[in-house]
């Protein structure tokens, strides 16, 4: 059974200029513990698809199964990381990480020790009493990752989580995410507009195109794990990249910008 099963999913928004089709006829099955990246230009519906999987919005039509059951309400089995860390300014690092456990009413002592483990895992040991404003963007995003993982969800939704960071930090966090995923397997759905990042992280890359948002191609990435930065320069990597670029840029006639 797939962890997430999507079939014939449509999402239409109403705007001032009439209905806008954000997603059209999307079908996708994601296996348990699979790392899937959604890549494509703005307006291809990748974030919309992520929000649908998080049950933050309702589909207009189609099937969306989570663990085999229709997804009607947000489930606690999901952790979310956004482009902005959106930490609570008035809470320390550890209290930010603990926020979901307070809302879900989880055991305080256990949660605290798990929070400390996660903070150590992302390399922020010693920073747990600091406030968000004292942290760099990359460190804030690490905290946000801990917050998404604290209640041990089986699915991690990431909406361009590293897009606001500089290239070096982005790379570093990508490898760190893979390391964490390797030790504590989860189903990860990761949205990005960076093709290199999409390939390097994923088991499967879902390439999407806009107007209307739909899946143009799904590419299986057969690169060995753990992934390394050197893989980016291999012929295999380039061929994946070409396959994705082809559908994203030429498939729609969109300019290469």
């Amino acid at each position: 059974m797939s962890k997430i099963h999507i079939e014939g999913l449509h999402k239409t928004y109403t705007s001032k200029h009439g209905p806008v089709t954000a997603l059209k006829e999307v079908s996708l099955s994601i296996k348990q513990n699979e790392f899937v990246t959604l890549v494509g230009p703005s307006g291809c519906g990748k974030s919309t698809l992520l929000k649908l999987i998080g049950a933050l919005i309702r589909p207009s039509r189609g099937t969306l199964l989570f663990d085999g059951a229709p997804l009607l309400h947000p489930t606690r089995d999901v952790g979310i990381v956004f482009q902005e860390a959106v930490l609570l300014e008035w809470r320390t690092v550890i209290d930010n990480v603990l926020l979901p456990t307070e809302i879900l009413g989880l055991d305080k002592v256990k949660s605290r020790s798990r929070a400390m483990d996660l903070i150590n895992l992302v390399g922020l040991a010693g920073f747990e009493r600091r406030f968000p404003r004292e942290l760099s963007g990359g460190m804030q995003q690490r905290v946000s990752l801990c917050r998404a993982l604290i209640h041990n969800p089986s699915v991690l939704l990431m909406d361009e989580p590293f897009a606001a960071l500089d290239a070096m930090t982005r790379e570093e966090l990508g490898f760190e995410l893979m390391r964490i995923w390797d030790t504590d397997k989860k189903t990860v759905i990761f949205v990005t507009h960076n093709i290199t990042e999409a390939i390097l992280l994923a088991d499967r890359v879902v390439a999407m195109t806009p107007r209307p948002g739909r899946i143009a191609r799904i590419v299986d990435i057969a690169l060995a794990r753990p992934r390394t930065i050197e893989m980016e320069f291999t012929q295999t990597f380039k061929s994946y990249s070409d396959q994705i670029r082809e559908v994203i840029y030429h498939g729609t006639g969109a300019s290469r910008s």
Partner: protein, 270 residues
């Protein structure tokens, strides 16, 4: 692969928010300028023998303040009482009302637009009507203060409560948080710095409101004292009252700023 950087190196420990050298310079500069201007005032008044009922010298003002100290203290207390009561009443009513407005689409579409429109009305112009309706005691002054404070506080609170970033709301929804949890853990703390901006604007209006209320008709307060002493050509005393009003305003403002510093230490500072 990029080398793992130690996060500790990214942000040095000693980067604190201490008042900088430039703040100290500004305070010192302003103080010296004020002293210089006061001396210039004294010298000019003496040099040109300006009559005291027109423009008293600083020394004369101080003398008169010492002479009338018990009256000045008494009237100050009245004005301070009106200011604080009106301000407190305003907080007590506008903050809960702002919460209701933010949570109720009905109020948002009925009461709130009217309130925003009423904001343009010069509230002090109602003071004579208030005197007509509720007389010349302290109550009409408290009502004027309440009115001038009401709008900045309600607008700031409503804005603050709505200022939660959209992704954060998504996160909270994904955890199926209750409305109460969302309010207590997210919305209200997010609104706090905004509320304090409103409070700081309101407290400066508050003193003005109290004085205007006293101008319209009263038997006590610093506004009353200014009115009476100018009509009796006791100008130094009017200046004394003015000095006290200014001090009161400044102290109240920094009092709020101090509370802000304690309650919302994460608020951005200017």
């Amino acid at each position: 692969m990029t080398a793992e950087r130690n996060p500790a190196e990214l942000y040095p420990e000693d980067e604190t928010l201490e008042p900088s050298d430039s703040t100290l310079k500004a305070v010192l500069g302003a103080t010296l300028t004020l002293v210089a201007l006061t001396i210039l005032w004294e010298v000019l008044v003496r040099q040109f023998q300006v009559p005291a009922w027109l423009l008293p010298s600083p020394t004369l003002i101080v003398e008169s303040m010492v002479e009338w100290r018990s009256e000045l203290v008494g009237h100050s207390m009245v004005t301070l009482y009106e200011t604080l009561m009106g301000f407190a009443l305003s907080i007590a009513i506008s903050v809960p009302l702002a919460v209701a407005i933010v949570y109720s689409p009905l109020l948002q579409n009925t009461i709130y637009p009217i309130l925003l429109a009423l904001q343009s009305m010069p509230k002090v112009a109602i003071a004579p009507l208030l005197a007509l309706w509720i007389g010349f005691g302290t109550l009409p002054k408290i009502v004027v203060v309440f009115l001038v404070c009401f709008f900045p506080i309600i607008v700031a609170t409503a804005t603050g409560l709505a200022a939660v970033p959209a992704p954060l709301m998504d996160l909270i929804r994904s955890l199926s948080a209750s409305s109460l949890q969302t309010f207590v853990k997210i919305r209200f703390p997010t609104a706090m710095p905004h509320i304090f901006v409103g409070l700081k604007i309101a407290i400066t209006f508050a003193v003005i409101g109290a004085v205007i209320g006293e101008f319209v008709g009263s038997e006590s307060g610093l506004g009353y004292l200014i009115l009476v002493s100018t009509s009796q050509s006791r100008t130094p005393l009017a200046f004394g009252a003015l000095v006290l009003l200014t001090i009161m305003s400044i102290v109240l403002y920094y009092g709020i700023a101090l509370v802000e510093h304690v309650v919302v230490p994460w608020a951005p500072r200017n």
